[in-house]
């Protein structure tokens, strides 16, 4: 039986599969053409740009490490979205949860100077998870007991979290040089370990979370009653309730788990990146980009690994295009937007070919 339906789709026969790849290659080519045209507009050679992009993202172990490490928070948020989405809860509170997770982790991290490394690292990660989960818990509580739509409350809570962060880095957590709105640096012992052999130690060990969590999540959805009940609640809340599942509990759990994942992403941003301090913009848009990662991967955890790396290379490569070829930052974001649009279209076209559209059983009146 296909407990993994929706995660792993079986295709019959090669032609559909081939067609999908062909479509995706076609759209990738289109994306490249669009990018090349934009670059030509400002007089940058697309070949130079390609090589600058490559060298900035995967051209050296150092940069590849950066790209992979920065993919982790995106991936964590994407997983958060997938968990909530499977339970039918469409919340968009990831930016807020990344921020609160990061703040909680930072608050702990700043005071963990005396602790042994392992303890500090684990404590910070747990604080991040707790911070995100707690913030998501508000969304969950409002939904479960007050009937407030999760998309509404989570959107508002994002705005609250951002302002709270702005206050924290000027108030209680401010501790930087120059009284800038930044915290002090976290003690080195609290930073997440990095792979020694990569020059610059840009590859943090948290990349192992990518395969680990993806596999874990697939397993949970396909092979555990918890995952099954979660999906059932998301598929049809009333039917789940009538068959003895507590869909409210499942929904609350899913929202809280997804908040915890986003909170962990916040901790990863601060403790696994190369900027070990809390600053106002540290969330860097990964809350929403993580949703895009999940959706472009069609909510597949394995696909999310790839899309997260693609997204992170777009970010990192965009910066290196600016630094190496003087491509303006605005053009870098235009390229990013164009690539997302084209990838979206590719995903849908490839999907159409497969003729196995996911079913939204939008019941009519009855």
């Amino acid at each position: 039986m296909t407990a993994a339906a929706g995660l792993i789709r079986r295709d019959r026969g090669m032609p559909a599969w081939v067609g999908r790849v062909v479509t995706q290659l076609g759209v990738a080519a289109a994306a490249l053409v669009v990018a090349a045209l934009l670059l030509l507009v400002i007089g940058v050679s697309p070949v130079d740009a390609a090589s600058a992009f490559w060298s900035g993202t995967f051209g050296s172990p150092t940069n590849a490490g950066t790209t992979l490490t920065q993919a982790v928070p995106l991936f964590l948020v994407a997983l958060g979205w997938i968990v909530a989405d499977k339970a039918g809860r469409m919340h968009v509170g990831f930016p807020g949860q990344v921020v609160t997770g990061g703040c909680a982790a930072a608050a702990v991290g700043l005071h963990s100077g005396g602790l042994p490394g392992v303890v500090a690292v684990v404590l910070c990660a747990l604080a991040g998870i707790a911070g995100g989960a707690l913030w998501a818990g508000i969304v969950a509580w409002l939904w479960a007991s007050r009937g407030v739509l999760e998309i509404v409350s989570s959107l508002l809570l994002n705005l609250v979290a951002l302002q709270t962060l702005a206050w924290l880095v000027r108030g209680p957590l401010q501790g930087s040089l120059d009284r800038q709105p930044q915290s002090a640096n976290f003690p080195a012992s609290a930073l997440w370990p990095a792979v020694e052999s990569v020059p610059g130690r840009t590859l943090s060990y948290d990349v192992i979370l990518l395969p680990l969590l993806a596999a874990g999540l697939i397993w949970v959805f396909a092979r555990t009653t918890f995952g099954f009940e979660l999906r059932a609640s998301g598929g049809n809340l009333e039917a789940a309730r009538w068959s003895g599942i507590n869909p409210v509990r499942q929904g609350v759990t899913a929202i809280v788990i997804s908040g915890g994942l986003a909170g962990l992403a916040g901790a990863a941003l601060l403790f696994a990146g190369s900027a070990p301090w809390l600053s106002e913009g540290f969330e860097a848009g990964i809350g929403f980009n993580g949703i895009a990662v999940a959706l472009l991967a069609r909510n597949s955890p394995v696909g999310a690994i790839l899309t997260a790396i693609v997204f992170s290379s777009l970010n990192v490569g965009g910066t290196s295009l600016q630094a190496l070829l003087d491509v303006p930052s605005s053009l870098a974001s235009v390229l990013q937007g164009a690539v997302i649009v084209l990838v979206l279209v590719a995903a849908v076209l490839a999907h159409r070919r497969r003729r196995a559209a996911p079913i939204k059983m939008k019941e009519l009146v009855a």
């Binding site: 400002i42 469409m90 968009v92 409002l142 007050r146 009937g147 407030v148 739509l149 998309i151 509404v152 409350s153 959107l155 508002l156 809570l157 705005l159 609250v160 302002q163 709270t164 702005a166 206050w167 000027r170 108030g171 929403f288 980009n289 949703i291 895009a292 959706l295 472009l296 303006p328 930052s329 605005s330 053009l331 870098a332 974001s333 235009v334 390229l335 990013q336 937007g337 164009a338 997302i340 649009v341 979206l344 279209v345 995903a347 849908v348 076209l349 559209a357 079913i359 939204k360 939008k362 009519l364 009146v365």
Partner: protein, 352 residues
Amino acid sequence: MGVLDIAFLVSALTIAAPILLAATGELIAQRAGVMNVGLEGVLLAGAFAGYLTMTRIDNQALGFLGGIAGGLLLAALMGVLAIEVKVDQIVAGIAIGVLGTGLTSFLDQHFVPEPRTFTPLPRLSVPLLSDVPVLGEVLFHQDLFIYVTVALVVLAGLAMYRTTWGINLAATGETPIAADAAGISVRGVRWAAVLIAGAFAGAAGAYISIGDVGVFREAMTGGRGYLAIAAVLFGSWRLRGLLAAVTIFAVTDAVQLRLQSLPTVPGEVWGVAALLVAVGVARSRRPRARLIGAAVLLGLVALAVLRPQLTLPASLWLAMPYVLALVALAAGRASRHRAPSALTVPYIRSEA
């Protein structure tokens, strides 16, 4: 000197107008089932296109038309993605947000390297009415955009609630197959709604740039697009709720800017907050909510009377409107007006 003076009301109105117009457009689109989370990008497109037009043809009417065209352009992209290709609307919106921000600043650097400044829209006084004390100054001495916004919002309300088109719109967002079966073109209605949203957001963007201040800056919309979306959601997809939300957002923002220049929070602010809570308590039916509300009310009244030397950091003040909105949602009775059922769901006939 006070916080809640005439200038304050005028300022709140100016803050509110573009958000209100963009939110009304977005409400129409969402009632048809299309959510554009990249509204910020559409606003920017309108702001830049209006400004660009002004740099070429120094005419405010044409400038606004340019802004509308800019908004329509990005909205049309949303339409193609959401209605034709049927991609996921949330990612499409994210992409549109990124594109709007990037494109406008790129084109700005390219086409208008030397920033220009234009005269903002002049204030027009409505004869006689503008002489009414306080209200006259606030309501009848405004620029044309604000009058037009009010007119458009009223029109949008009439269209949504008093016409066949409004019924079709609601049906398309709620049960597209029912609309389809009744002969309504789901695509047609969704396209119309998305384009109206684009035109409204484009005009609102043009107001932010050439209408209010006469300049364009990268990312100058400063999150107003997100506020507009929040207002639609917080307003439970109804025009009345949306108005309430925009009012809360604009008033708190205007208060916040005033409070920063004051050493302590003046008593009248607590008083107004107490008034708001009192209204909430009066409307609430749940005993527990009333109890909590009454306690909060008492606290606020105490603050208003005692006027303690209290001050709140600016960022926490800025968080207030959202906290207020959340409290209002939590205290309100579960409304039967929920999100349109088909919001963000592409309509594919064979799967309906």
